[in-house]
């Protein structure tokens, strides 16, 4: 479903991602893990077209380079941003409905069904449907961000560090929901700093470091691989001696 070749992302003089290749098949859950600053977020932003990049991005067979982010969303490539980017002064329900805007614009007016599905998945959001997004807790906001993304009926769901800043209990809840989505057949590309949780959920994984793919393979293998630990804690590597 997604094929990335030779991706490069730069911010002025700094290189965030270099020569990155990855692919995601339909129905797969792929984890993108690695230490902070490795370029994971930049990769996702580039996939959505929110930052300039070089290289080839093929989504469902078609080249995405040059397509505006709003159009990518309309084609089913949806991102849950690291900072959620909710509409704070609007209610939960309004945020969710706006998630389906791309479809609404194309004439789909029957959004009730999707709304009910999201509420079934996130009962907490159902309870707070008229509450302003900015007044909710971190975990609830994360749920809302995911729910909003689901309203767009994504074919490929991108998640940027869904566990960021959340207490372990909430993280468990959210990953539980991600497991349900996986069971329903949603294709997911998950960026996470929490390597263990990500690898338990995913089918395959890529370990990013300093903007490049350092390791890749089936999640089960990566879970056992001691080198993953090393990449996180810098034990191996060329060293700066």
């Amino acid at each position: 479903m997604l094929e990335v070749r030779g991706l490069e992302v730069r911010y002025h003089a700094a290189v965030a991602v270099e020569d990155l290749d990855l692919h995601v098949g339909e129905g797969e859950v792929v984890a993108l893990i690695g230490p902070n600053g490795a370029g994971k977020t930049s990769t996702l932003l580039a996939l959505l077209g929110l930052v300039a990049c070089r290289g080839e991005i093929r989504y469902r067979g078609r080249l995405l380079n040059g397509v505006e982010p709003e159009e990518r969303v309309a084609r089913g490539l949806v991102l849950v941003h690291e900072r959620r980017q909710l509409f704070g002064e609007m209610t939960v329900e309004e945020n969710l409905l706006l998630g389906a805007f791309a479809r609404y614009k194309r004439g789909e007016r029957r959004l009730k069904g999707d709304l009910e599905r999201v509420y079934a998945l996130f009962p907490r959001l159902a309870e707070r449907r008229r509450q302003l997004a900015a007044t909710m807790s971190g975990g609830e906001q994360q749920m809302l961000a995911i729910g909003r993304a689901l309203m767009a009926r994504p074919r490929l769901l991108l998640l940027d560090e869904p566990s960021l800043g959340l207490a372990p209990l909430i993280v468990r809840e959210i990953f539980g929901i991600l497991r349900r989505l996986k069971a329903e057949g949603t294709t997911i590309l998950l960026v996470e700093q929490n390597a263990r949780a990500a690898l338990e959920l995913a089918d395959r994984g890529y370990v990013l470091e300093a903007g490049r793919v350092a390791l890749q393979g089936p999640a089960a293998e990566l879970r056992e691989n001691p080198r993953v630990v090393e990449h996180y804690l810098g034990i191996q590597g060329e060293g700066s001696g």
């Binding site: 959505l48 982010p69 941003h81 509409f87 609007m90 309004e94 409905l97 805007f101 909003r148």
Partner: protein, 332 residues
């Protein structure tokens, strides 16, 4: 003070207040969605009644050609984007046709005038602001100032320096609490109220309206939800120009129209918008009424300085707003 005079000043202030409130609303709307402080708004507000006046004199106003030209340039820039250039060319033709219609049927002149001025807003956004998507508020401000010069100069070229008198849409006066108030003034206030109500409903009930708000509140979040921020900008400009043109047509019979008035009018609406922190719609309305009343009462006590007072008022407001603004803008 004589209660009759007080009444006059009050009604005068409220009527101008309605005008300034509308201009302020338009300015706040545009700023919220695009971060542009739309200085040329004043020119567009006054272009509409001036266009109407020229139509009533039996000539085709140059604004018709300007609008059509801008639309065609826009079409040329977007040549490869689907049906858009075709629709724009059609719109250009429509504007010219409307112009001729206005000549033929003078009763329709006010409506035609609004229609003719309407494309100026979104076209200006597309041609001058959209190509600089990430610029700071300051760059947009300087750009807006440059465009103000252009439109003001064009106003002089199109309409000359004279003042035009325009027939009232509703002639005559009515006695309100013993005070003669012109029907036209009441019409303006009512139209302002109606417009505000419609905007309110649009922004709170319609998903399109909410999408526009979303684009203003969180650009990235909006794009992630499939809301095109560029389109939102164009819609904002369109709405704002519409509000401005309507306001201009309604107020012109009360005080005549000349090309110069645009700037001062825009500035006063702008004072009201600043009171609103460029972000709150209710405060924009309140600010507009405040400016109108202040101007009206100052004109009684210190006629020559009434405008200076209005602007001096701006300084403490800006200071207050700056302190309470949590935004950190990068300085250009």
């Amino acid at each position: 003070m004589d209660p009759l005079i007080f009444g006059f000043l009050l009604s005068d202030g409220l009527i101008s207040g309605a005008l300034y409130a509308l201009v302020a609303l338009a300015l706040v709307l545009v700023f919220a969605v695009t971060r542009v402080i739309l200085i040329p708004m004043g020119e567009w507000v006054v272009f509409a009644p001036l266009t109407q006046a020229v139509l009533l004199e039996g000539r085709l106003p140059a604004t018709v050609w300007l609008s059509a030209l801008l639309l065609l340039v826009w079409a040329a820039l977007d040549l490869r984007r689907g049906r858009t250039p075709l629709l724009l060319a059609l719109a250009a033709a429509l504007v010219v046709a409307a112009g001729y219609l206005g000549l033929a049927v003078p009763a329709l002149a006010p409506l035609v005038a609004i229609l003719v001025v309407l494309p100026l807003g979104p076209a200006t956004f597309r041609l001058f602001f959209e190509p600089l998507p990430g610029a700071t508020v300051l760059v947009y401000l300087i750009l807006a100032v440059g465009l103000h010069f252009v439109y003001k100069g064009l106003g002089l070229a199109f309409f000359g320096p004279e003042q035009f008198g325009l027939p009232a849409l509703l002639a005559g006066e009515v006695a309100v609490l013993g005070l003669p108030v012109p029907w036209q003034g009441i019409m303006l206030v009512l139209a302002a109220g109606l417009l505000m109500a419609s905007l309110y409903l649009f922004f709170t009930r319609s998903l399109f309206g909410k999408a526009l708000r979303a684009a203003a509140v969180n650009r990235i979040g909006a794009r992630l939800s499939g809301i095109s921020v560029r389109e939102a900008g164009r819609v904002a400009f369109l709405l704002a120009t519409g509000i401005g043109a309507l306001a201009g047509v309604l107020v012109a019979p009360l005080s005549n129209a000349s090309y110069e008035m645009g700037f001062l009018l825009g500035l006063k609406g702008f004072v009201a918008a600043i009171v609103a922190g460029l972000s709150s719609y209710p405060l924009a309305v309140a600010g507009g009424v405040l400016v109108g009343l202040l101007e009206s009462f100052s004109s009684f006590f210190a006629s020559a300085y009434k405008e200076a007072i209005v602007f001096a008022l701006l300084l403490p407001v800006l200071a207050w707003r700056s302190v309470s603004s949590l935004e950190l803008e990068e300085e250009e």
